[in-house]
């Protein structure tokens, strides 16, 4: 029996009060092309052991990332997550509600979030951070909306080096506004974003290392933006890079957003991940998301609270800085534990190791005829131009158990000039044998 608390008459009354003609009316923002027209045709129910057998058969079709050479990056990275992280996040002390609505009774959760915020602030070189967001892409879109509120300007310029899916998310958030300038993808290096800044620009959005692996000159971009009263939003999809590259905050960035998956969180089919957002103290009132603060109680003892909640939806309603009133609590916890285990020195070592592995990969790739390396700078990810279209090559190598990288055509399908481009990442898990295996298979496929 289904329990439906509202009668038809009550529903009609509610719809009338908000000026909607039907429940479907409430979902008008969803494009018609995305509606499921036909039924899902799901099979009938099955006994539990049959379902288990079915799921087992499905899972055997997967190619597990760790089962062979793996060079896929492009926004999600395969790193070693110590077993202690998975153990610690499952401790009962952390099994409180992930988004505590009576927050102050969850002191453990709040302390963890406070530590997380402190780590992210140190990493990004910024003064304040929130308790995390859904992922890097939604954090980027939120940063764009935040910049508009701060500057009271509309125009947003997205660099061609920002992850194509992040650009799509920003476009979705802004509803294809005329004030959104998306520059063309720039696989071969620095774009011309500074030419697009004017006195109407709220912010420019630049990723570093960018989608194609190039490092961007954050200081120069910050100066160019600030000369016009615009803000610089820096996007980081590989957070490990900040163990080696100077923090964007130290170079003049106004808002730093990042994907935190690389620390503490496995690939898990693309999510859930954890978005990081950091900014300057003076912008804190316009920052979305939950914010944990340290204080003292009546007896002078240290305690933690959720603070500045008047920015948030449960108090500010439609005037809130964002409709986000939660955070990626568990992923943030994993991030925070892994980061604590690494420590500052450990993170630097990890970053150096990643870069060293990537240098090995680059050197090996450059020796293959039919492979042209496009990067003069990179951290642990790079782009190559192959002598043949990349997508079929990637398929051919996958059939041999080698995941070679991401063909750019997969994310930029409307740009045939990039059909031969591929993005590859190396991490601390990339062995010499992995590189040798990839190169041998590539040589054969390109011959």
């Amino acid at each position: 029996m289904r329990y439906l608390p509202h009668s038809d008459a009550e529903r009609k009354e509610m719809l009338q009060a908000i000026g909607a003609s039907s429940v479907d009316d409430l979902f008008r923002a969803v494009p018609a092309s995305l509606y499921q027209e036909h039924s899902l045709e799901l099979p009938d129910h099955q006994p539990e052991f049959m379902v288990e057998a079915h799921m087992r058969a499905l899972s055997q079709k997967n190619h597990v990332a760790g089962s062979g050479p793996f060079f896929i990056g492009a926004g999600a990275y395969r790193h070693h997550v110590p077993a202690s992280v998975d153990h610690l996040i499952q401790r009962s002390e952390f099994l409180t509600a992930y988004t505590p609505y009576q927050p102050e009774i969850s002191q453990g959760t709040l302390q963890m979030l406070f530590e997380f915020q402190t780590q992210v602030a140190h990493l990004t070189g910024m003064e304040v951070t929130n308790a995390s967001m859904y992922d890097g892409s939604t954090a980027t879109a939120e940063a764009v909306l935040m910049a508009r509120r701060l500057t009271r300007r509309d125009k947003i310029v997205l660099s061609g080096g920002v992850h194509p899916q992040y650009r799509d998310v920003v476009r979705t958030y802004l509803g294809d506004s005329d004030a959104l300038v998306c520059l063309k993808a720039s696989p071969e290096g620095q774009g011309d974003i500074t030419d697009h800044i004017d006195d109407k620009t709220a912010a420019i959005v630049v990723q570093t290392p960018d989608f194609y692996g190039h490092l961007r000159d954050v200081k120069k971009l910050a100066d160019a933006a600030h000369a016009h009263g615009a803000l610089l939003i820096v996007v980081v999809t590989e957070i490990v890079s900040l163990g080696l590259i100077e923090a964007p905050g130290a170079l003049g960035a106004d808002i730093v957003v990042a994907e935190g998956q690389s620390i503490g969180n496995p690939l898990t089919y693309g999510g859930p991940y954890v978005g990081l957002m950091a900014t300057r103290s003076k912008f804190i009132r316009q920052m979305p998301g939950r914010l944990c603060g340290e204080t003292v109680d009546a007896a002078g003892r240290r305690g933690y609270v959720l603070t500045l909640s008047t920015r948030e939806q449960h108090i500010r309603r439609e005037k809130a800085t964002s409709n986000i009133c939660t955070n990626s609590g568990l992923c943030a916890l994993a991030f925070s534990i892994h980061m604590s285990l690494l420590g500052e020195a450990g993170l630097k070592r990890l970053a150096r190791l990643n870069h060293a592995r990537a240098c090995e990969l680059a050197n090996a790739l450059e020796k293959i005829s039919g492979v042209e390396l496009l990067n003069s700078t990179f951290f642990n990810e790079m782009s190559v131009r192959l002598s043949k279209p990349a997508a079929p090559i990637v398929e051919e190598l996958a059939a041999k158990g080698i995941l070679a990288g991401v063909p750019v055509s997969r994310l930029e399908p409307d740009q045939p000039q990039y059909a031969n481009l591929m993005v590859l990442a190396a991490t601390e898990l990339t062995s010499d044998q992995d590189i040798a295996g990839l190169c041998a298979a590539l040589e054969e496929a390109l011959a």
Partner: protein, 121 residues
């Protein structure tokens, strides 16, 4: 110099064609400790009833509406450092912004101190 009040608890103190706007003593009492005031942009033009500023207390945020139409000619930057001025001296140093009125006759539609006292009773 006349001071008038809106039903939303803003006051306007008119000097020439410039109106100093803030919230009434009654309003600040109702809100409690003010921790932040979001000021309007200098030069912004508002019609009567537009949202112009936000006053935040510890557990609530309240919009401030333009009691009359006009252009913002001054904002009280002192509130950035000391928003509590709205509590301690709301109708004096706790003013929020000044408008150059575009239609002085709108003042006639507002309440005088006596009528406002009756309104809040």
């Amino acid at each position: 110099m006349t001071t008038k009040f809106s039903p939303d608890h803003e006051y306007v103190r008119l000097e020439g064609d410039a109106g100093t706007i803030g919230i009434s003593i009654y309003a600040q009492e109702q809100l409690g400790d003010i921790v932040f005031v979001e000021l309007p942009a200098l030069g912004a033009t508002f019609s009567k009833g537009d949202e112009t500023a936000v006053v935040e207390s510890v557990k609530a945020a309240s919009e401030i509406y333009a009691p009359v139409s006009g252009t913002v000619i001054e904002i009280n930057e002192a509130l950035n450092g000391d928003p509590g001025l709205v509590n301690t001296d709301s109708e004096g140093s706790g003013w929020i912004y000044k408008l150059k009125l575009s239609d002085a006759s709108e003042m006639d539609g507002l309440m005088d101190a006596q009528a406002y006292a009756a309104h809040t009773n």
